[in-house]
């Protein structure tokens, strides 16, 4: 994950109606119980003794689930960056599916998304994979590629 200034990122409980139920483990509860719209993620990590990356991941998950929203005046949540090995795995499977043209297609699609390989955001990885998989014309091969990539997405 890229270095990020978490001292300016603050959350508060969401004002939107919650749909469904959510299960929280102990770590998630520790983070949630310290969310007050004033404490930054860095302060919560220090107070709870938890790793900053763990606190950020938990807050990001709760945010996506609709439990949290950014507090007024807060900086944006830093974006996680994809590990180079993960992109290499995407490249490797794409080469297996369509041959050496995979390198060109991968670079073109990364550029088309306005991103760079070195700093590719984790939250756009599925979008990139979907776009490059369109280059696989054989339906079965494309589905197989997407199946493998779903595992990569869940592991990363």
């Amino acid at each position: 994950m890229a270095e990020a200034d978490l001292s300016q990122v603050r959350f508060k409980l969401s004002s939107q109606e919650l749909v469904g139920s959510i299960n929280l483990n102990a770590d998630a509860w520790r983070v949630l119980s310290n969310i007050d719209g004033v404490r930054s993620l860095a302060e919560i990590a220090q107070k709870t003794g938890m790793d900053q990356a763990v606190v950020t991941n938990i807050a990001s998950t709760l945010y996506k689930a609709g439990l949290l929203e950014l507090a007024p005046g807060s900086a944006a949540l830093p974006r996680a960056i994809v590990n180079g090995k993960v992109l290499e795995r995407v490249r490797g499977e794409l080469v297996r599916a369509i041959g050496p043209l995979a390198d060109v297609i991968l670079e073109e699609e990364i550029a088309a998304l306005g991103e760079t390989r070195a700093q590719f955001p984790r939250d756009r990885l599925a979008e990139l994979i979907e776009r490059v998989s369109e280059a696989i014309k054989d339906n079965n091969k494309r589905l197989n590629f997407q199946r493998l990539m779903l595992e990569v997405l869940r592991e990363s």
Partner: protein, 163 residues
């Protein structure tokens, strides 16, 4: 006939099991249900306890939308509807369709790929598709009088009248 129906049911349940297992794994998804061509849900998963009538109504409306779009522009595979800070994503799977209810910030590319993979076996199972078509042959039926309320019938009448 009974054995064949049971076999079809077993196959449908197996296919739907794949959908209901995989799709909820996508972050932000809070409901998934599978409908026949008339919009009747026959399997569902939800993170809360929904009223079954809600899924019945949504299923029927989605079937009607598919039918109306097919009439105007041909076969449509996927529909996205934004409502009350939520998103409904419907995917056509032949003689069945699946509806996913999710948050607006749900990773849509991840959802689409999860649907592609989870639905593969059902889409390719021609025998099951044939049996499902026997039960509910056409979504176009949902645009007929028996399925429309007064407002819907008025809209259809106006769209159908010349000028």
């Amino acid at each position: 006939m009974m054995d064949r129906s049971l076999m079809t049911l077993a196959r449908v349940q197996k296919h739907i099991g794949a959908l209901l297992n995989e799709i909820p794994k996508v972050g932000g998804v809070h409901g998934v249900f599978v409908c026949d061509n008339r919009g009747k849900p026959f399997a569902a998963w939800s993170s809360s306890t929904p009223e079954s009538s809600a899924f019945d109504q949504i299923g029927l409306n989605v079937a009607q939308i598919y039918a109306a779009l097919a009439r105007q522009m041909g076969q449509v595979r996927e529909i996205e509807i934004y409502y009350q800070h939520r998103v409904l994503v419907a995917r056509d799977l032949g003689n069945i369709f699946v509806v996913t209810l999710c948050m607006p910030n749900t990773d849509r590319a991840l959802l689409r790929m999860s649907l592609n993979v989870a639905a593969e076996s059902l889409e390719k199972d021609t025998e099951t598709q044939r049996e499902l078509a026997r039960v509910a042959p056409s979504r176009a039926d949902t645009l007929s009088a028996g399925y429309l309320d007064a407002a819907g019938q008025l809209l259809i009448d106006r769209l159908s009248s010349p000028g």
